[in-house]
């Protein structure tokens, strides 16, 4: 019986080991969409990205593409997130699959942190140069100090070619053209190799003689002084003086070879130019807003007042990068990511043109699986259950007005 039990135990252990080993060989590709993990209120009430354009969906190594568009720094910025007084225009890509060849806000190059103001709209552009082949989800992104990364919509871009062909030529102010991808690499390896070798020599000098047991016996017997000989002291002095000499000489020769160097540059860029948005002539008052959980739809009752000269219609509701369009009024022609675009997701109870000087109260429904897929429905579990977004109205000539809305959201579970 005992033999049988032992055999079963042994076989079970072998089976467990085999299972674990087999699991290690199964490595499915991880293509997580990190933006879904960001709290819904943060995506809805901080940075509103719109008019986005990814210039290419496929780009070869060494070729460039741009991501451009606008972002609105929401006036009702949540209290729980630090204001964007120190921010950085980043790009959401899985590591340096592209290099960031340039980034601009309001036409200004922004390699450093910037100060942005609430209620302002900025245009931005990021120039990317393809580096590593593969399919990559490329997001807009703004890091805010004290707030963390605020990630925007992402689109799949394919890089073709071979990474070994990638080059990054830069011309310095000293007139030299270098490839930043490999520059200084052999110098780095040389100095690290040299110093590592010197360290190994020091260790080898002591390791060639008996180390632990005999020396321990001698120390405990009170003969510690006999363990360091005159030769040892001379060798040590040689190492010490040699190290200082090598450091001094290498520093001097480096200064001769690179006489012009500057310290690292950092700082905050202020006075970033915002877009002078046209004065809006449409007023919107949110009477109520509910999110119907089973139907994956948000319903708003809003009173729209047209103080302009031309009749207007509601064309789009944009929140957290998800766009709900009324197809009769607005159509996307920019190649916006499909999973974030509900082309017929906006229903307005009465979307007939609202004449100048008129007001009407309408029910607006934004309905799409994106509410759940992009975890925007989790807004109802946030500590501050308010939603926010952009409404785009169009007049007969196709002119567009952007109105921001910010209101409490009541969930409906039936």
């Amino acid at each position: 019986m005992k033999i049988l039990k032992d055999k079963v135990a042994k076989l079970s252990f072998v089976a467990l080991l085999l299972t674990m080993t087999a699991a290690m060989f199964y490595t499915p590709t991880a293509s997580a969409h990190g933006e879904k993990s960001q709290a819904a209120f943060m995506r809805m009430r901080t940075i509103h990205w719109f008019d986005l354009n990814w210039s290419k969906e496929e780009v070869a190594v060494n070729d460039t593409m741009t991501i451009s568009g606008k972002f609105f720094v929401f006036t009702g910025w949540p209290e729980t997130v630090d204001k964007p007084e120190i921010s950085f225009l980043n790009i959401g890509i899985p590591g340096p699959v592209f290099i960031r060849a340039g980034s601009w806000i309001g036409g200004q190059l922004v390699p450093r942190s910037v100060s942005l103001e609430l209620g302002e709209t900025y245009d931005f552009k990021v120039l990317l140069k393809a580096r590593r082949p593969g399919d990559w989800h490329v997001h807009t992104m703004l890091n805010v100090k004290g707030g963390g990364p605020i990630i925007g919509p992402g689109k799949w871009v394919t890089i073709t070619g071979s990474m070994s062909d990638f080059t990054n030529p830069i011309t310095t102010l000293t007139g030299e053209t270098i490839d930043l991808e490999t520059y200084n690499l052999s110098n780095t390896y040389f100095w690290h190799g040299l110093w590592y070798a010197i360290g190994l020599l020091w260790l080898a000098y002591w390791a060639r003689k008996p180390m632990f047991v005999p020396r321990s016996i001698a120390v405990e017997a009170g003969k510690a002084d006999t363990l360091i000989s005159g030769t040892d002291k001379k060798v040590a002095l040689g190492f010490g003086v040699g190290v200082i000499a090598i450091v001094a000489m290498s520093m001097a020769s480096t200064n001769d070879k690179f006489p012009i160097t500057t310290p690292l540059q950092a700082g905050l860029l202020r006075g970033i130019k915002s877009i002078e948005m046209p004065v809006t002539t449409v007023k919107v008052k949110i009477e109520d807003a509910t999110y119907r959980v089973p139907g994956r739809a948000m319903q708003m009752t809003m009173t729209i007042t047209n103080n302009g000269d031309s009749p207007i219609r509601l064309g789009e509701f944009n929140t957290a990068g998800v766009r709900f369009l009324d197809a009769d009024v607005a159509v996307d022609e920019t190649g916006y990511p499909d999973d974030l675009l509900a082309e017929e997701g906006l229903t307005v109870s009465d979307n007939s043109p609202l004449a100048p000087g008129q007001s009407k109260t309408v029910q607006v429904t934004a309905s799409d699986a994106a509410w759940e897929v992009y975890r925007l429905a989790d807004l109802i579990y946030d500590p501050d259950s308010r939603f926010a977004g952009l409404l785009f109205f169009y007049d007969a000539a196709g002119n567009r007005q952007m109105i921001t809305i910010d209101a409490p959201l009541i969930p409906s579970f039936i």
């Binding site: 120190i86 950085f88 890509i93 340096p96 310095t172 991808e181 010197i198 390791a207 120390v219 040590a236």
Partner: protein
């Protein structure tokens, strides 16, 4: 076999076994120290060590020696007291650099494709050798702490300058002046490292004359003295052995 019977039968055998112990202990010491020291250094001086655009004249020069003199001080305490072996600091740095290079090459480059010329580690060897040499020549841990600690801080920047100087050549990039190291940080995208978390020359007591690095180096040296004292006691405490008296069996 009783406790009074020797495990070896001749002096020759004793010498051979002792030598085998030497290699076993050195091997184990090397890798145990590598693991602990690497984690410690990454958690304290991490980003300064990872990226060229963090290696400024102030915070890097100050932070790196202060947080890296820790394990050398502790290991020296053990190896010198018990064995009069003066390679405690060097064995720590040999382990740390081996671990760091494996990490940078296999992970930073091999996994996430950051070029190695952007993410190489800091060179800590000159200070470590001098720390060991001062201990050996003085035989005094106090002198090692004061003179060696100061030297450790002062040798850091000049020991690394030949490696980083080429990356401090300036470029004009779309109308702004940057160093090549800044440009590396700008080009090679790190979503979790926005520019504003770089601590480039922040703080007061900025310059002496126009030089920044010497001020930082001296400050780093002085604090390294204190850290050396503290970690010396950690090392001494960890290295103690307490035996149960045989009569209690």
């Amino acid at each position: 076999m009783s406790a009074s019977q020797s495990a070896v039968r001749s002096r020759a055998e004793a010498v051979k076994v002792s030598r085998t112990f030497d290699w076993l202990i050195l091997f184990t010491l090397f890798f145990v120290v590598l693991g602990g020291y690497h984690i410690h250094y990454m958690l304290t001086g991490g980003d300064w060590d990872f990226w060229t655009d963090w290696k400024d004249r102030r915070l890097w020069v100050t932070v790196a020696p202060i947080v890296s003199i820790t394990f050398p001080a502790a290991v020296q305490a053990c190896l010198w007291y018990r064995y009069r072996l003066p390679f405690g600091a060097v064995v720590c740095i040999l382990g740390l650099l081996l671990g760091e290079w494996i990490n940078r090459y296999l992970n930073f480059w091999g996994w996430t494709y950051f070029p190695v010329n952007f993410c190489f580690p800091s060179n800590l060897m000159p200070g470590a050798i001098v720390l060991d040499v001062i201990l050996m020549l003085s035989g005094s841990l106090t002198v090692t702490a004061v003179v060696g600690g100061l030297a450790y801080g002062l040798l850091f920047y000049p020991g690394n300058w030949p490696v980083i100087a080429p990356l401090h050549v300036p470029v004009e990039y779309n109308g702004m002046m940057m160093t090549l190291a800044d440009l590396q940080g700008y080009h090679y995208v790190r979503t979790g490292t926005p520019e504003y978390i770089r601590m480039v020359e922040k703080g007061t007591l900025r310059t002496f004359g126009k030089d920044v690095a010497p001020v930082s180096a001296f400050f780093s040296g002085f604090v390294s003295i204190i850290i050396y004292f503290l970690w010396h006691f950690f090392g001494k405490w960890f290295a103690q052995t307490t035996f149960v008296k045989s009569e209690n069996f």
